[in-house]
């Protein structure tokens, strides 16, 4: 479903990687590996459509991602380094608005149970710890189970063991229902064994 063809990324005058190609079908897990600064986040953002590769193309179900624009982004959820939460709003408000902005408004109960499942307190995000913020960001995954593609940048960072296990469970369930997941990670995760790996150090 997701195809990457000969992707090359140039940032700040340096070529981070070249010749990255892969296909990802439903139910498959892909891990992007590589040392710091090798371009893992850049590759993920190229797959989102936020960054243009200096060479190569990304295709979704055969069509170029550039041409699909919103049609493509409506089918994915991207959780990056930054938690994408407004400091002055509560996690509930953040999640509610996020859902509406992607055209999939969620019910009060769904939002409430998602945040409860991740044990996120109902305070303005400003007052939450780093771990709580990451969990609040991950709550979006609970709202995005019907979206076929998940692009996650370091999803397990700043999570304690229980939360990390929960996140891995979410990913596993998503794969079972036919979704695809691409992720990057520094830490070893149990789910790594199921993943195919693209090692950017080799590109």
């Amino acid at each position: 479903m997701l195809e990457a063809g000969e992707l090359e990324c140039e940032r700040g005058g340096r070529t981070l990687f070249r010749g990255v190609s892969f296909t990802l079908a439903g139910g498959e897990l892909l891990r992007i590996a590589g040392p710091n600064g090798s371009g893992k986040t850049s590759l993920l953002r190229i797959l989102c459509g936020l960054l243009t590769p200096s060479r190569g193309e990304v295709r979704w179900r055969g069509a170029s991602v550039r041409r699909l624009a919103e049609e493509y982004s409506r089918q994915l959820v991207y959780i990056g380094h930054a938690s994408a939460l407004k400091d002055d709003l509560t996690p509930y408000e953040n999640l509610d608005i996020a859902g509406r902005l992607v055209g999939v408004p969620a019910s009060t109960e769904a939002l409430g149970s998602a945040l409860a499942a991740l044990a996120v307190p109902d305070l303005p995000v400003r007052k939450l710890s780093q771990g709580q913020r990451r969990r609040a960001a991950l709550a979006r995954l609970l709202m995005s189970q019907r979206l076929p593609l998940w692009l996650l940048d370091e999803p397990f960072a700043a999570l304690d063991t229980a939360a990390a296990a929960y996140a891995e469970g979410l990913i596993a369930r998503h794969l079972e229902t036919g979704g695809s997941v691409v992720y990057t990670t520094h830490q070893a995760a149990a789910i790594d064994s199921r993943a195919r790996v693209i090692d950017l150090a080799a590109h």
Partner: protein, 222 residues
């Protein structure tokens, strides 16, 4: 798509409400700048009456320019901007919604308080309407065109001054037409021509500038 625009406007207004400093600073700056001129040029009533339209307009311009930095910076810093770029609505619509919310917070208060400033300058009563109308038409144009500068200078150091340098030449026609309309009325002539041109600028800016801003955002957010 309209739902998304409405959600975004509501979100930005809610954020501005929770951080009331944004509305206050734009307004206070406007008032302070307008109050500085009599201190600089002397309080001779005829002089003040003559320079009032220009001074009020320049103060509105400067205030609008200063508040532009806020338009995308917050969203850029916490990662929400990326999510907006991946949202279900075209980026141009997102930009239009944000610019509108920005204007409500930074431009509309100026329109409402301008008559008070005009009072300080002893502006003749019939001119208040033209002044308010010119600002009402002109300040949204400043927000929309300024958004281009804000998008281009996203995340750059020296952002504020650089933004002003980029945006001021583009502001000149609005300033000339806005202040000119009031001057025409003061001279006993009809300001209709200038006001109509301002309205035309507003329509053109609202129709085309959001796409330029969207392109600029994509360039800056890469």
């Amino acid at each position: 798509m309209l739902d998304i625009a409405r959600t975004l406007v509501w979100r930005d207004l809610l954020l501005a409400l929770r951080r009331r400093s944004d509305i206050a600073t734009a307004l206070l700056f406007f008032i302070i700048v307008a109050s500085l001129f009599p201190l600089g040029v002397g309080a001779e009533p005829n002089l003040l009456r003559a320079i009032a339209p220009g001074v009020i307009w320049v103060a509105a311009l400067l205030s609008s320019m200063l508040s532009l930095g806020r338009l995308f910076a917050g969203d850029y810093a916490d990662g929400t901007l990326e999510q907006l770029m991946l949202g279900a609505a075209p980026l141009g619509v997102v930009v239009a919604a944000k610019s509108f919310a920005h204007w409500v917070v930074s431009g509309l208060p100026l329109v409402l308080i301008a008559p008070v400033i005009a009072l300080q300058y002893d502006v003749a009563a019939p001119l208040y309407g033209v002044l308010a109308l010119s600002l009402l038409l002109g300040t949204p144009v400043l927000s929309i065109i300024g958004a281009i500068g804000a998008a281009l200078t996203l995340g750059l150091r020296g952002g504020g001054v650089l933004l002003s340098l980029l945006v001021l030449p583009l502001y000149v026609p609005v300033l000339i037409l806005g202040a000119g309309a009031v001057d025409m009325a003061a001279a006993g002539l009809s300001p209709a021509g200038q006001l109509e041109l301002l309205a035309a600028m507003l329509i053109m800016a609202a129709a085309f500038a959001p796409w330029a801003v969207a392109a600029a955002l994509r360039i800056s957010a890469e």
